[in-house]
Symmetry: C2
Subunit: 313 residues, 2 copies
């Protein structure tokens, strides 16, 4: 395993021949009936049953998708909802995924400054050294919120670097109301997200953060459905890996997403979550595979890869 996060990502994208990654946002009520009806898991009002069901589902999804894609994104909010029980389950899944030859991105969007940022970085990026937690693995990278500027980014970047890991700073979201804040423009028409991208790039472009792949371990999150203008970020920041959420259920098309890849296919990770993990709810798959929900998910991953591949031609 290469010791630089961006190098590992580039190798994995090449090996799996796709920038597609799968996001896990598991919700108990949408799990396959086959899991929800199992003894011990069939009690929606019991925290342990819900956490165990979500874990079982998530682990199966990881095993289904692992041969096809370079990385997965685990959205911690859907585990945090179950307080410490969910958090323990989240870290167990991270450890499991590490054994499946996947890069793991923890979608945690933490953001704060100084000692607080350092503590979050310890929690989410550092493999714990304390006795009692020393068999736990933290994700390979996390998403963070750069609202506080470099003071809120550097502490994460430093821990990431020391651990051979990465961070993706949330630069431009894809939700409708994001524009009000993130497209707020100065007298020259420069938008706030462009200013934030500059701040991120100054940190990301430092020589010590660049791997042999030419990419930095500090990347950016830019929504697939964000306006055309964001494509300029790809041209402007050659050393940046983009994490692009929104492919599939959130409304971004393959073309919306692949604009963050370079012509050689590197430079972006494109995330689809619900359109893949709940593929068994989609008639297109359920009529073909019936109750075989695993097969629905696998086919959805394969189809999404083909879609992205076509869009890149």
């Amino acid at each position: 395993m290469a010791s630089h996060f961006a190098d590992r990502v580039c190798q994995a994208v090449k090996a799996k021949k796709t920038p597609l990654i799968v996001g896990l946002d598991p919700v108990y009520s949408r799990l396959p009936a086959a899991i929800r009806n199992k003894e011990g898991l069939n009690d929606s009002k019991n925290a342990a049953a819900a956490v165990d069901a979500i874990f079982e589902f998530s682990l199966k999804v990881l095993r289904i998708v692992a041969p096809h894609i370079p990385a997965v994104k685990l959205n911690i909010a859907f585990f945090e909802k179950y307080l410490w029980e969910g958090i323990e389950s989240y870290y167990s899944l991270v450890s499991e995924a590490q054994g499946l030859d996947l890069e793991i991105i923890g979608d945690v969007k933490r953001g704060d400054i100084g000692h607080t940022a350092e503590s979050y970085a310890q929690a989410h990026l550092a493999n714990p050294e304390l006795e009692g937690l020393d068999d736990v693995l933290a994700p390979d990278a996390i998403t963070i919120n750069g609202f506080a500027g470099s003071d809120g980014i550097v502490p994460f970047a430093e821990v990431a670097e020391a651990q051979g890991k990465g961070v993706f700073v949330w630069v431009r979201a894809s939700n409708p109301s994001a524009a009000m804040i993130q497209d707020f423009a100065d007298a020259d028409g420069v938008k706030m997200y462009e200013k934030l991208a500059q701040v991120v790039a100054e940190i990301a472009n430092q020589t010590k953060r660049i791997g042999t792949s030419g990419y930095s371990n500090v990347g950016m999150v830019v929504g697939g459905t964000s306006g055309e203008q964001t494509t300029a970020l790809r041209e402007k920041y050659g050393k940046i890996l983009f994490l692009v959420p929104g492919f599939g259920s959130q409304g971004a098309t393959a073309a919306d997403c692949v604009r963050f890849c370079k012509p050689d296919g590197s430079g972006a990770l494109i995330n689809a979550s619900r359109s893949i993990i709940y593929a068994y709810e989609n008639e297109k798959y359920s009529t073909q595979f019936g109750d075989n929900w695993e097969k629905c998910i696998e086919q959805a991953v394969i189809d999404a890869k083909v879609e992205l591949s076509k869009a890149m031609q």
Copy 2:
């Protein structure tokens, strides 16, 4: 107990005669020797020992400060550092503090959109109803990050409202690099944080969110050391409760902070963290009280109250 967060805060500020609140950012290596040397707690390399020591310290601090102040702020990052073990400890402290007649603010700075924001709101504001977690209490309010605009604020505000709780949106930080993003100005000189404050105020000022005190359950976090210009937020947004961090060790003076209070003393909660909880490291107190670290903390709270009170005259 009044059912509206802002009303409870106003009552508590009046009863305790101060806007001062104490922030808990506990770090194992700075705990009093009397705690760190205890059997079972004296192993800095063991996660359980560190978590237990931090819990014991934090609970003592809560009991010392409770008679003097209206609220406490628990910084979750310092617990999250110990993964699920720390998170369990955090919620135990929240429950303990609820029994001490304190309003509890969880400093969690979560920020995301849609279902993810809803999941975070469930985790951090809703008292769990699931069997196995139903004796847990969540904080009375949390801090959130409004980078995504209203889509990232409303889901939290809705859960808060349903639970008689509150949210404080991080509007202007006090760290040096915050200016680069948050003071980013448009052609009219309006700064990004002012725009964000407008977005927050539109949500906060909805009639359904205003308590009998006249304040909203949706407030703003504005750093005490942020420039003079932020004082205008107090004048402009009469229904907003401000959470003002930075008093004491972070460099904000009493005058820097009380500018967010109205003349009647309401309207702001002023947070001091390290200057209070580590008061036993301060010669001013240690020469007076020796090894009695509890007494050092108590005196520091009393002194800080007097300081704020003088600044308000």
